[in-house]
Structures are given as C-alpha cells and as structure tokens.
C-alpha cells in the first residue's frame, strides 16, 4: 500500500467544485425525454444511455484516480471495494417511473457502485 492512504470520499467531495444537484437531475431527465422523442424505441434509448454512461464513466474514473490517491488495484475485488468505500459522493437518486404513454414522466435513478460486466467477480480472495 502507498504510504499516503486514499482520501475519503467526503474529503474529495469537499475539495472539488460543486454545483446544484437539481440542474444535474433535471438535465438527465430532459435528455432521456428528448431521446425518447427522437428515437421512440425504449431499447434504442437504453442503448444510447448505456453508451453515454460508459463514456462519462471513463472520464469520471480519471478524475477519481487523480483526486483520491489510491494505488493501483490488484484485482477486481479490490476495485469494487475501493469504489464502494472511497467513491465520489456524487449520489444521484433516481427512481424509474414506468407509466408508458404518459408524457410527463418523472425519472429518478439511483447510481449504485458500478460493477464491470465483462469480468467475473472474485468472491474468495
């Protein structure tokens, strides 16, 4: 382990520039709404959202690594633990309202720790 331990999520969050969370949540909701208008198919919308999320995730992890002072994770268990314990305190709470056909839907999503899908999660190490 590196001599200087990883910074806590609270400390990191206190040190970065922060903005109004409502702007973030409403923007995301508006994006989903517009995607549904433009693409019409829910599956296609989800595919695009997944791609967007992936691209955003790559960028956020760079910032996370730069700010949190963690050493390189040896395996995926450590990765998951690190994300769970030291994750950026940028929680967005979303709940999905599945009333189709209702134009004025409200979307709220809860961002949990991200689990990489391609690799099996090693339990016993």
């Amino acid at each position: 382990m590196a001599p200087a331990g990883p910074r806590s999520g609270d400390a990191i969050f206190a040190s970065v520039e922060r903005v109004n969370a409502e702007l973030f949540t409403l923007t995301y909701g508006a994006i989903v709404r517009q995607l549904l208008t433009d693409l019409e198919e829910v599956e296609e919308v989800n595919k695009q959202l997944d791609q967007m999320g992936y691209n955003i995730g790559i960028r956020l992890i760079d910032e996370f690594l730069a700010k949190s002072n963690v050493s390189r994770c040896v395996d995926f268990k450590e990765t998951a633990e690190t994300i769970a314990k030291v994750s950026m305190k940028a929680e967005v709470t979303w709940i999905r309202d599945v009333l189709r056909g209702d134009d004025a839907f409200e979307l709220q999503v809860k961002l949990l720790k991200q689990v990489p899908e391609e690799y099996p999660y090693k339990d016993d190490e």
Partner: protein
Amino acid sequence: MAREVSESCVDSLLTEMVSTYCNRFYANKPDLAARSIEAIGYQVGHQLSERYTMDRPRFSDHLEAIKFICKDFWSELFKKQIDNLKTNHRGTFVLQDSQFRWLSRVSVDLSENGDVSQDNPEATAENKAAQVTSMHLYFPCGIIRGALSNLGIPCAVSADISNLPACELLALFAN
C-alpha cells in the same frame, strides 16, 4: 441546504449530450442536433424556473422577469449573476456573462492567417471545433427560453461567443 454534485458530473453529462447528438445521431445535420439540444435546455429551464419561483408572487413586468433570470436564476445555476444587462426597451435584451462557466474550459484557437479555404485541414478542424463549441450554447439558450416561457414570456434566445470566455445571450421577446 440544496443538494450538490461535483461539477465534473454536470460537465461530463453536457459534453456527452452534445457529442451524442452532434456525432452519433445527427452527424451531418447540425440543425437537427441544435434543435434537440435546445429542446433539452428548454425542458430544464422550464422546470428550474418553476422551482425557483414557487414562493414568490408573479412578476409585474418583463423587466422584472429578466432581472430574476440575471440575478437569482443565474446564481442558482452558475453561482454568479449576469454581469451586464442591456435592453432597447422594445423587447430585446442582451445578457452578458463575462466568464461563462460552461465554456471556461473550452479552448478555441483562432487561426492566425484567417485562412478558411477547403485545402487547409487545420482551418477545417478549427471550424469544426468552433461548430462544436457553438453547439454547447444551444443548451443554455434553451434554458433561458424555457425559463422565460414558464414566466409567461415567449421569446427566442441566441448566443454570441466571439469573446470567449465571455458569452452574450440575446433574448428577443415575441411582442
């Protein structure tokens, strides 16, 4: 106390939104991309102005509404107010933000010799960069249009970024 997120979340989301619409969906149809981005902004502005005016009485006139946009609304979004407001008192308002937060990290290199011929790949790349930058502006334009529309003032909003990082937003009221 209002909840907060790190600014990089908003920055990433906006950048990704513009990139998706400009590069993936409407790669050769910037007008359609612009329309969608502006529509997203409109939705956000509409809802935000709803929340930020819940506890106050209706605005008495257009100037009061614009001043609300310049002060309280802008502060909620960008932690600062509009730096300069100009009007011709006939329905045209110019809102000037001398350090527009969402463009503060955008670099636009102006071509030194002003060569915009097709043979110059650098100029083409710079034009493309300028085009992408201007795409980002459709979102705040939409926000203002949505906010004013919710306050009962239909209008058209456009932006001018010839003086980065300053941004001038032009609001034209319908009547």
